[in-house]
Structures are given as C-alpha cells and as structure tokens.
Symmetry: C2
Subunit: 354 residues, 2 copies
DNA sequence: GTGAAAGCGCTAACAG
DNA sequence: CTGTTAGCGCTTTCAC
C-alpha cells in the first residue's frame, strides 16, 4: 500500500483475513461468511481499494473487453452502429476498445494486431477491405471470436457476419424509379480501387456494400429491360468527387432523369451537385439516396432514401459476438445475419419530365 | 503451449534461450545479441507468438490504454472530437477504451469506475454533469490523469480541461445579429434540469457549454442595450422540443426576427421549425446555429453558424493527457486550454424586415 | 468456510 | 550479453 494503490493484500491485512478470503469477498466468488464480508468490505472502503482487472484478467484469461474496428467513427452510420454494439456490450459487462482507422488498411492491420495483444475477448470489425483479410484470418487462428460488420471478407475464412440486404435494397429503390417512368438512371458508387475487380476475378463472394448496391441497380435495370449506359455509372472517392461528377453528368447527359447514390457520403455529394445545378429536383431530375440522415427532411425537396437500421446492425453484431463468448456454442458454424432496409420515399423523387 | 496461445516460455524453449532473453527480444528492451534476436524471432514466428499486453501491463504498471467517456458518440461533435483524441493516442501508441453514456449520469459513473478497474493510464471525459463530480474526483484521487473535455466540473477539483470560448463565441454571433438591426432575438438552449440553477447557487464556475453560450447571448443584448424578454428564451430537452417551441414562437411572437441556437441539436430543431413555418428565412426571420454540419450548406438558405474546432478540441485533450503520461511534468498545475470558434455567415442571416 | 501455496505471462534486478 | 530469481495482483486448487 506504501506507494501505489491498495491491493487485495492490503485489504486482507487490514481486515485481518487471508488474501484468499479478501479475494473471495472483493471478487465476488466463493462463499465467504457474512461476518467476514462486512469486515473486508469495510476495510476495502476505508483504504479506497478498487479491483485490478489487469491482474484478474491474467489469471482468468478474460479481459471482458471487446475490440471494435470501424473505418471512420465520424460516419453517422458507424457512429450509430457503434452505439448498438456498445449498448449490447455494456449490458453484458463488457467494455469496448474502439479504433477508427480513417479508411487506412495499414492502420486497420496494426489495430487488429494491437487488439490481439491487448487480449480482447472478441472483435467486431467493419474492414476497409473485402479481399485483404490476412489480419482477420489470424484473429480466427488465435481463437478470438470475430464478427464482420457490414461487409464480408474473402481472406477471413468462415466467420460470423452481420449484413444489410444491400443488393435487394438497391434493386427495390431503383425499381421504384423505373416504375415512375425513368429510363436513364445514373448511379453514384464508391470507387473501390482495383480491389473489387480483383475480388471479382477470384469469383469472390465478398464485395463492398456499395458494389452490391451497384449490382442491385443493374438488377433493376435488367428487370425493366433497360440497358445501362456506362456514362451513367459514376465511381467516386468521396463526397467532393461525387458532387463534381454529378454536376458534370447533369449538363452532359440531359437524358438522365434520376440519380441513385449508393452510400451516405455519395448522397451528400450528389445532393449538393443538384442544388448547385440548373435542373430542378424533382421536376427535372430525381434523387434517391442511401441512409437516412437528420438532414434528409431538412432539405428541400426532402430526400428519398434507402434507410439502413444502423443501430440494429451494430446491436446484432454485438449479440452474435456475445453469444460466442458466453456459450460453448463457440463451436457452432458461422452465422450470417442479414437485416432489411426500408425505402423511404419523399419529395426528391417524382416521375420524369413528360 | 499445449492448450492456449504460446507464451514467451514456449518461444524461449523453442529457441533454446532463457525466458529473459526471449523477453528482451520480443519485448524490445535490453540488448540481446543479433544472433539470438534472429533465433528468437524465428521461433516466435513459427509458433505464432503474440505478446500478451495484459501480463506486460501488470508488471510495468501501464496498460497503454486511455479511457474516453462522452455522452453520445452519435453526436457529430463528439464523433469528431473522438477522432482527434484517437489520432493523438495512436500516434503515441495508446489504444482507446470508449464509452458512450447516452446522456446517463449513472452510466457515466459506472463507466468511470469500470475504466479505473481496467487500469487505464489516463482518462478524457465530457461529463453529462457540471456539478456532480464525485466520480471524477475519485479518478484524481487514484492518481489517474484526467482531462475534462468541452465542460468544466465543480466536483472534479483542479483538473486539466480543454474548452471552447463559448461565451465570447455566442456573444460575437448574437452581436452580429444585433448589428444587422435585429432587436428581438430569441435563443434556444438546452434545458439543464435544476442543475445549472443549483450550480449557480453555489457560485459555481462550471456550466454547460449551452449555458455559457446563453450568457454570451445576454452579454450581446446588454451591450446593445436590448432588454431580454423572457419569452425569447426557449429551454428545450431535445431537437423535437426545440422544433415545437420555435414553431410556437414564430407565430406567437411576431416581433422576434432572429433566432440563435446554442447547440447542434437545437440548431436542427430550430431550422426544422422555420422550414415548417410560414415565415421566410432570412427575409422574415434569421437563424444563427451552432456547429458546422455537412448539411449547413445543403439546406436553403444555407445556415450561418458558430463553427467549433471539434477535432482540435479532441486532439488538444489528447495532447494534454499524453503530456501528463509522458513527462514527470505530471506534477505541474492543471492547465486550461481554450480554443476559438469562428463565425460563418451564410444565407440564413440577414437584416430584419423593414 | 478459511488459509496456504501455486501460478497466470511477463519484466526487472541481479549475478555471472 | 545472458541466465536466474523474484515478483506484479489476483484467482484457484487443495488442505484444514
């Protein structure tokens, strides 16, 4: 007790019991007698004792911490999902080691490595990659339960995942546009540099949400017998790029009467371009966005979107992971949870000009 | 090595060296010979060894983890601040245990307690309270460095803090409205139930950002010789309440020609009310918001705001905390870092109707 | 029900 | 430079 914070030994001495008994009281295990419980608790309070989870973890082999890796906590989708995870985790007595990788795969790798060193009991990761998964495979190999959030990963092997019905959601949204009579529908997707191509080359099942939504867009066009003009497909790195590309499109492609944005970031950029341009929304051009934001109903026209249950996705990932941690069901086959999105139609979508 | 993951002992045995030497190589301390370094690293790789920070922490007394407590990670202000903290922390080799308390003080208390048990090296907290600070004082008493973010706290004692120039920022913003000729300026602030009153009763220095901004509003009115009509002051719990109150105000108080919102949440509500109402913005009524959002420039009119350097606030808090952790400067007096906000004038603010 | 002793995986003295 | 020996603070047998 001299230097640092009081230990269980200090408490035991003060209460006149053995360290073992003090441990039983303070650690809440075993069956100490009521009398000793009181004495030990009194001493603990007096000395200002607080349990040392580090020491506890080393012997129990569990840290009661889960690691969460997302590409950017400032993205409202991830912020909300993290709240979902966090609520589940805390309810089960877990804390959360969070890493926001800023879209940097190298940083993600080192983060995953660091979390393993910290001996998290499990991990939830929304990877910045769908093809590079060596770091995730190593998590599995180390026997640490892993849940993939929002995207699959080729290299991770068979692993639990929680996903959105991306392709179907996009198809529904674009079909809605086509049903209104639109024929030329542009799409704004995230550029997934080379990766999605190489992934496809390997007949990969894993793709980014944005790519899957693009597939859904193609599905809808197919179904309506519309041939996709390559000029309608805008691959952009960020909101600014999206804005610029859509702005161009609006003037160079007068036949386009509707735009579908596949992510919240792209949605912001596309909306900005439309606000800046000469064509009126929805009279001249319709916009269908992805993710429902606070501002969806603050702008005019109000934004039509595919709304994701971001909180539920996070919560589901938490539930799946905690299930692995709790049960000996740890041995069961990987699960895949798919949540449904919903189409919210507001003012930014209308029939094309006559 | 039999059951669990390989330990330093397994590696040592495999490499034919002592555990101490293996530790020196794997832990990066001491001065092992190049020859042994190779042998140990080879063995480590072959066995798939990864350092156990838990064991390391128990002996070094440092976890290289900081605890971060915010009221809601979905609030873009905190998300951005957390990114600032996170960047600083990772650069210094720290991970971040994050708790999003959902505005619940009880949850904050238990979170702080849990983080102490987890033996975080330091903590950054944006408390849900400015008066109740027993849990924060206990952090100090345990000798754990603490930095307050975005708000002071009465009960915490003398402690490092990183704040915005709330009062001056609000005064500038409201003065801008008054300079344009507005006389009746309403203000939308967070309701801080009873707390701010009791805090004031005790002559407290600590107040919520929202309250300080309200003071700044009063300062500006004072300076302009305008008497504040109590009917202009709207205290609201959330965005919906703000929306409703402002909607009412707009019809019942025709003399009000400008509205100042003191938080990002209130800003959203106020803007919505104005969009819903009959009075045009900015011709009939001006709106000055707080915090710059992505949507500030997506709405029409574009929103004038007091912009906070949220990332910098987080980064500064990180820097201060890491300074305490690094130096023996830990003994120096508590610092108070105050960052400046900036006024961004856009279309939502204009002179009052003639 | 309680205590003594061992040990979790690692680092830190201290000898050699 | 390398190995031996102690622990860090706690839980967990195992006797008593």
């Amino acid at each position: 007790m001299a230097a640092g914070r009081p230990t269980i030994i200090d408490v035991a001495r003060d209460a006149g019991v053995s360290p073992a008994t003090a441990g039983r009281v303070l650690g809440g295990y075993g069956t100490p007698s009521p009398e000793l419980v009181r004495r030990v608790q009194d001493s603990a309070r007096r000395l200002g004792y607080r349990a040392n989870d580090v020491a506890r973890s080393i012997v129990t082999g569990s840290t009661r911490v889960i690691g969460v890796v997302v590409s950017d906590i400032e993205n409202p989708f991830f912020a909300r999902a993290v709240n979902g995870i966090s609520d589940r985790a805390r309810a089960a007595g877990y804390e959360m080691l969070l890493v926001s990788t800023r879209m940097d795969l190298a940083r993600e790798r080192s983060a995953v490595e660091a979390l393993m060193a910290k001996r998290v009991d499990g991990m939830i990761v929304a990877s910045a990659s769908v093809s590079e998964g060596g770091h995730l495979r190593r998590v599995r190999e180390a026997g640490v339960p892993l849940v993939l959030l929002d995207r699959r990963n080729d290299g991770a092997g068979a692993v639990d995942s929680v996903l959105l019905d991306n392709r179907a959601a996009a198809q529904r949204a674009v079909s809605h546009l086509l049903d209104l009579g639109h024929r030329a529908v542009a799409v704004v997707t995230s550029a997934t540099p080379s990766e999605s191509r190489s992934a496809r080359r390997r007949r990969s099942a894993a793709e980014f949400p944005s790519s899957l939504r693009f597939e859904g867009y193609l599905d809808a066009l197919d179904e309506a017998g519309v041939t996709c003009d390559p000029g309608w497909v805008l691959r952009c790195d960020d909101a600014d790029a999206a804005c610029e590309r859509v702005r161009d499109l609006l003037v160079t492609r007068p036949e386009v009467t509707a735009v579908f944005a596949t992510t919240n970031v792209m949605t912001g950029g596309a909306f900005r371009a439309i606000m800046d341009g000469d064509r009126r929304c929805p009279e001249d051009v319709s916009l269908m966005g992805f993710d429902d934001h606070e501002w969806s109903t603050l702008v005019r026209p109000q934004l039509s979107v595919v709304a994701q249950p971001a909180y539920d996705l996070g919560a589901a990932a938490g539930t799946v992971l905690l299930g692995r941690l709790a049960g000996p069901g740890s041995r069961s086959a990987p699960s895949e949870t798919i949540l449904q999105s919903s189409l919210i139609v507001r003012g930014s979508v209308a029939a094309p000009p006559a």
